[in-house]
């Protein structure tokens, strides 16, 4: 198998293992670690996680496909997640979305509520929220990346 967790991740896994009654509970933390490490979740990574969590590989694969935040293919473009729920819609997320979809250098996705209604409209890139968006602000943010 071509995937191995980094030494730091292996340490984290060992630490987390003591926290849960079953190793299966490590599925999500391990998937996150694999995704941060490689940028996506490969089948090799799923096999390693299956071994760590003592769970059939199919189960890990199912979890990885269930959550839209996990990628099973490498992503070449920057992934921009735009909130599609009520507050953001009312505050103009559709305009943001229309603006973003004109750009070809980003992968735009509509996602469920990002939980930041007070600062709508909101988008998420990697682990960061960009709030109170306007089309100018969007351009400025993407410029800096």
């Amino acid at each position: 198998m071509s995937f191995t967790f980094t030494p730091e991740n292996i340490k984290t896994i060992a630490k987390l293992k003591t926290r849960y009654p079953k190793p299966q509970a490590l599925s999500l933390p391990c998937l996150w670690m694999a995704q941060y490490q490689e940028g996506f979740i490969s089948i090799d990574a799923i096999d390693v996680i299956a071994e760590v969590t003592e769970t059939p590989a199919m189960e890990i694969y199912r979890v990885a496909t269930f959550y839209s935040m996990f990628h099973l293919q490498p992503i070449t473009k920057k992934r921009v997640m735009v909130c599609k729920t009520l507050s953001c819609k009312l505050c103009g997320s559709e305009e943001i979305l229309a603006h973003l979809s004109k750009r070809e250098d980003v992968l735009v996705e509509e996602v469920e509520c990002l939980g930041s209604c007070g600062s709508a409209p909101v988008m998420q890139i990697d682990d960061l929220y960009y709030e109170d968006l306007t089309t100018q602000k969007v351009d400025a943010v993407l410029e800096q990346l």
Binding site: I43, I46, P56, A57, M58, E59, Y61, R62, T65, F66
Partner: protein, 457 residues
């Protein structure tokens, strides 16, 4: 041990074990209740929500497959309220269903189709212009084809690979209306029981590559038979039909429930063994390769028996029915022949597994042992009369009674195969089971018993 208690279903009193599943009672007493996901061998999953029943004292309808039987329970399995609930659930199942019954192989034995006739038959409230589409022809491997659009996500197939074969090839991936059954990339379905998922599938999502498009199921006739793949003696249905202008043909084997032997399943080797049944059949009576009249052949054999008096061996195949073996023992005595039923050929340790397959690959292996027959290779080299045993022996003269071609013998008689004949088999646990005749050919080969009758005259 749970106590037996009484509960009321639709005004009738039934006795049931406390804390057993309500749906088991309904199925046992043939009280009609629709369900997709529940299966006796896989247990309750509660995902399809079709088996709703009304329980007096409970606000909402409950699913029968996840309801434990309690004392004093009163259940209504029908009524307007329940029908409405079932209709609504069915409507949801049908939103994205392609309704391609005319080209679907499951038509005629499809739960979805049946339930639609019971609870559907209406114009849907839900007006979807474009249905969610999925892959229609996914080759899962092991002769199983998947149509993701027809799937109702009951998870029977995935639970089968999880709980029964423990091979975990199948899973439901994605979510919402994107959810579908799939294998992992590059890891096809591959276990020796894989084709059972085709029987488990309540709809036409999983079909057998071997059977699909060959025959409409309502044309098939089923005979209750026993699989002859090994000495386990799995109960099967031989599904056969005689299409117009053609001969009676076996189209598939299906497992037949028998909790004492095979439960609900059979192995794929057994399931596909029907093919070998029809191929290369011995149809003619041959003397030195030339076809001869059956009467002449019989007199020829009688002459041979006279000629080799005291130097005759009768070889019995361990796949023959017990009735045939017993008759052959009588015949051997009348012609003063030695009898042997070699078993070495049938031992295959590689075939054995923990589920159903036995290392003794002959259907009536146990009978041969019970009858204390000699299992040695024949030592007398005068006349050998071989009754369908697949190995060849050398002797001055060899006479052979065969279902299939390939025997090296100076005189060859064709005999009926097990699907064209009925009889008793003893399985490895000593259980005697009767296998019924399925196929009647246009020009049937005589059975061994019929040949022996002719030889008497």
């Amino acid at each position: 041990m749970n106590q037996n208690i009484e509960i009321i279903v639709d005004g009738q009193t039934y006795e049931a074990e406390e804390n057993s599943l309500l749906i088991d009672l309904l199925i046992k007493h043939e009280i009609k209740v629709p369900y997709f996901c529940y299966h006796e061998s896989l247990g309750a999953d509660g995902n399809c929500r079709m088996c709703m029943v009304e329980i007096v004292g409970q606000k909402r309808p409950q699913i029968a497959c996840d309801t434990l039987i309690k004392p004093g329970m009163e259940v209504h399995s029908k009524g307007e309220k329940i029908d409405t609930v079932r209709t609504n659930i069915l409507e949801l199942e049908l939103i994205n269903h392609p309704v391609d019954c005319p080209t679907c192989d499951q038509a005629g034995e499809c739960s979805l189709q049946d339930f639609y006739m019971d609870y559907g038959l209406h114009t849907s409230k839900i007006n979807v212009q474009e249905k969610v589409t999925h892959a229609k022809h996914v080759d899962l491997g092991a002769n199983v084809m998947l149509d993701q659009e027809r799937c109702v996500l009951c998870a029977r197939c995935t639970r089968f690979t999880d709980k029964i074969t423990h091979s975990h090839e199948l899973g439901i991936i994605g979510r919402g209306d994107d959810a579908r059954v799939s294998t992992m990339p590059g890891r096809p379905l591959s276990n020796p029981y894989a084709m059972n998922v085709v029987d488990l599938c309540p709809v036409g999502a999983l079909t057998s590559k071997d059977f699909r498009f060959h025959q409409r199921v309502w044309f098939l006739k089923s005979a209750e038979a026993i699989c002859q793949g090994c000495s386990t003696g799995c109960n099967i249905y031989i599904d056969h039909n005689k299409p117009k202008y053609r001969d009676d043909t076996v189209y598939r084997f299906r497992p037949r429930r028998n909790d004492a032997v095979n439960g609900f399943f059979i192995c794929d080797d057994g399931r596909l063994s029907y093919k070998a049944l029809e191929e290369n059949r011995q149809r003619q009576t041959l003397l030195e390769g030339q076809e001869i009249e059956t009467d002449a052949a019989c007199s020829h054999l009688k002459a041979l028996v006279q000629q080799h008096q005291g130097n005759i061996t009768v070889i019995i195949d361990a796949n023959l029915y017990t009735e045939e073996i017993t008759a052959l023992l009588v015949y051997a005595e009348t012609i003063k022949a030695e009898v042997t039923a070699p078993l070495e050929f049938y031992n295959d340790a590689n075939f054995e597994d923990d589920l159903l397959k036995s290392a003794q690959c002959a259907a009536n292996y146990q009978s041969v042992l019970d009858l204390n027959l000699s299992t040695q290779a024949p030592d007398k080299k005068g006349l050998i009369i071989n009754f369908n045993y697949p190995e060849q022996f050398h002797a001055d003269t060899v006479v052979s009674f065969n279902t299939h071609q390939g025997a090296q013998a100076s005189l060859i008689f064709p005999i009926a195969s097990y699907s064209e004949n009925s009889g008793t088999l003893t399985n490895k646990d000593g259980l005697e089971q009767f296998s019924k005749k399925a196929v009647t050919k246009n020009s049937p080969s005589p059975t061994i018993l019929e040949w022996l009758e002719r030889l008497k005259q």
